[in-house]
């Protein structure tokens, strides 16, 4: 029915905020990427982002400003509701923002889910520009890209401990002692 049905390893195709998200399984990521590049003309990898969902949805969110039907200043019931975000399938999401530089320009988000200890197959051979993007996500988020030709830290020092963009990485650096001495 939809044009994405033939995408290898497709789990879900959804449309939100005028953006298409295609979730694929980890095993068929490279096949899906190659398919999107060759069959659907997504020749340009704009961005690669990993998101850490540790602790996602542990707190209910309330007082939010609108419902699906919009909001109305004179109708309080359209101004907010209380909700708990739906749980995510795994801890990390890896998003590939693709763009088609062609006669039919459009964008799509390719998404795959990964847990701690799992590796994501590299797409450097599909889009060479993924080289530094994958290194950055490895560096800051600790996602391992299997088959990457040069997977070393890029922004932080080689001997840095931990991956700062993870939710369990403390902010504020080292604890500051207050001694009370003059």
């Amino acid at each position: 029915m939809s044009e994405w049905d033939a995408l290898p390893g497709l789990v879900e195709a959804s449309e939100r905020h005028h953006e298409t998200t295609l979730v694929v399984t980890l095993e068929s990521l490279v096949d899906a990427a190659t398919y999107l590049r060759d069959e659907s003309d997504f020749n340009f990898l704009s961005d690669l982002t990993a998101v850490d969902y540790l602790g996602w949805g542990e707190r209910a969110v309330s007082g939010y400003i609108g419902t699906a039907t919009g909001r109305d200043l004179n109708n309080p019931m359209t101004q907010g509701y209380q909700a708990v975000p739906l749980p995510k399938p795994k801890r990390f999401a890896v998003n590939y923002h693709l763009l088609s530089i062609s006669e039919r320009p459009r964008r799509v988000r390719l998404q795959t889910w990964v847990d701690e200890g799992e590796a994501v197959p590299t797409v450097v051979r599909v889009w060479p520009t993924a080289d530094w993007h994958e290194r950055e996500q490895f560096d800051l988020m600790g996602i391992v890209f299997d088959g990457h030709p040069n997977l070393v830290r890029i922004l932080l020092d080689e001997d840095w401990d931990g991956h700062p963009l993870r939710k369990d990485y403390p902010i504020g650096g080292e604890p500051v002692r207050f001694s009370g001495q003059e």
């Binding site: 939100r16 905020h17 953006e19 998200t21 020749n43 340009f44 990898l45 704009s46 961005d47 982002t49 998101v51 850490d52 996602w56 949805g57 707190r59 969110v61 007082g63 939010y64 400003i65 609108g66 909001r71 200043l73 101004q79 907010g80 909700a83 975000p85 998003n95 923002h97 763009l99 530089i101 320009p105 964008r107 988000r109 450097v124 889009w127 060479p128 520009t129 080289d131 530094w132 950055e136 800051l140 030709p149 040069n150 830290r153 890029i154 922004l155 932080l156 020092d157 700062p164 963009l165 990485y169 902010i171």
Partner: protein, 426 residues
């Protein structure tokens, strides 16, 4: 300087691909050259005046020839994205412009625009046109800094003074609008932080009147300058296919003959209502990138003029959305309305909430596709913010552009990619 057109003896752009294998961003010295024992590895940077910040290039030299090259970045990493996760949505805004400290308003807008996309909030026309105007002024500013510094690195010192003369005028305009010369933080979720000040339009008009003549002056200094041509023509070649494969965007992509501009293809703000041309040059070398920059400045002046025409007729119109759940209430209401006071207090202390979801919003910054990925869990703070920095991607092309080049050309090539290290390292 002669008035005749320069003779074009440039070799046509290469066939096939030149992207190194297996690592697309590292040029490796061939073993046969290494075996001569005459290869010297030199650190270029990180502290070198012509690296546009703190870029380190590890260069293998065989005489004057660059046989190997690897770019090392990260010296300016300050963890912007992590910091933004700790702030409420509106307190995160000032972080964005500080990444790319040359085209700050583009960064500011891309973040604000992404949040607005998630909120699905309507921005009043006056704010839309003013944003367009400022983004284009910022594009001219950014191109002027690029022009001045790139020419300076190749020895054209006078160019620097000319470019910074007009840059100063633009900074004065920013100061008039926002009180700040840089990092204006004038864009607010929902519109602008304040109304356009009195006296701005005439000042901007006089800038627009003078700018095309100033660009003519720059062109007389460089476009047909024999030294400039020899230092830029046929250098740093990048074919259209390689440019797309390496994710290049903006002037670099357009100088490789790809007619692509986000402002035209996916119009945001008021770009679908203004008339402008997208300059494209097919040669793919440093000179073509220079020509793209010059032509873009002329187009930006035209856009600013069209914005001014609209804005001058919008006196008294609102500059920010009327949505009390996101936007601070007008000051005068705080003295008379308890409800407004409460909402003001809540937005300032707790921050407004953004619906759950994720968006990727891309604009055409002076350097190319600037994207912002924003993820919210429905709370008052971003769950994740990621910037697609065009400079970060542009540096990946260094190895490809430097194939078969000399060490002296490296300055011209790296300069032509127009990178700002603050944005690369974030």
């Amino acid at each position: 300087m002669t008035a005749t057109a320069p003779t074009r003896s440039r070799a046509p752009i290469y066939e096939g691909t030149r992207i190194p294998y297996p690592i697309p961003t590292v040029l490796t010295t061939p073993p046969s050259v290494l075996a001569t024992g005459d290869v010297m590895t030199v650190n270029f940077g990180p502290n070198h005046p012509s690296t546009h910040g703190v870029l380190r290039l590890v260069v293998d030299l065989y005489g004057e020839d660059v046989t190997g090259l690897a770019a090392v970045v990260g010296y300016l990493h300050t963890g912007f994205e992590k910091n933004m996760e700790q702030k409420t949505w509106w307190k995160a805004i000032p972080y964005a412009p500080r990444m790319d400290y040359v085209s700050y308003q583009a960064n500011e807008y891309v973040f604000v625009g992404a949040v607005e996309k998630l909120l699905e909030i309507d921005v009043p026309p006056k704010a839309v046109w003013m944003r367009t105007l400022l983004l284009e002024l910022n594009r001219i500013h950014s191109h002027l800094v690029w022009l001045g510094t790139s020419a300076l690195e190749l020895g054209a010192i006078s160019m620097f003074w000319y470019a910074f003369r007009e840059r100063e005028t633009i900074l004065d305009l920013f100061e008039l609008v926002a009180g700040y010369r840089m990092h204006t933080r004038y864009f607010q979720v929902g519109g602008l932080a304040d109304d356009v000040p009195r006296g701005f339009y005439p000042e901007a008009r006089s800038f627009c009147d003078g700018m095309p003549k100033a660009i003519d002056e720059y062109e007389t200094l460089l476009t047909r300058n024999k030294i400039w041509l020899e230092r830029t023509e046929g250098l740093g070649l990048l074919s259209a296919d390689d440019a797309i494969a390496l994710g290049q965007s903006g002037p670099v992509l357009r100088a490789s003959g790809v007619d692509w501009d986000t402002r035209k293809v996916e119009p945001y703000l008021a770009y679908h209502q203004v008339d402008f041309r997208v300059p494209v040059f097919p040669e793919g070398d440093v000179y073509a990138r220079y020509r793209v920059h010059m032509a873009e400045m002329r187009e930006s002046v035209r856009i600013v003029e069209q914005c001014l025409e609209r804005l001058e007729r919008m006196e008294g119109e609102p500059w920010i959305a009327d949505d009390r759940k996101v936007v601070l209430p007008p000051r005068h209401e705080l003295h008379t309305s308890m409800e407004s006071l409460i909402h003001h207090f809540k937005i300032v202390t707790e921050g407004f909430r953004v619906p759950e979801g994720e968006v990727y919003f891309a604009i055409e910054s002076p350097r190319g596709e600037l994207g912002c990925y924003v993820c919210s869990d429905g709370g008052p703070k971003p769950w994740r913010v990621k910037f697609r920095a065009p400079s970060f991607v542009a540096l990946q092309a260094t190895a490809t552009c430097m194939t078969d080049a000399l060490i002296a050309d490296m300055i011209a090539v790296v300069g032509s990619l127009d990178t700002v290290m603050g944005e690369v390292d974030r």
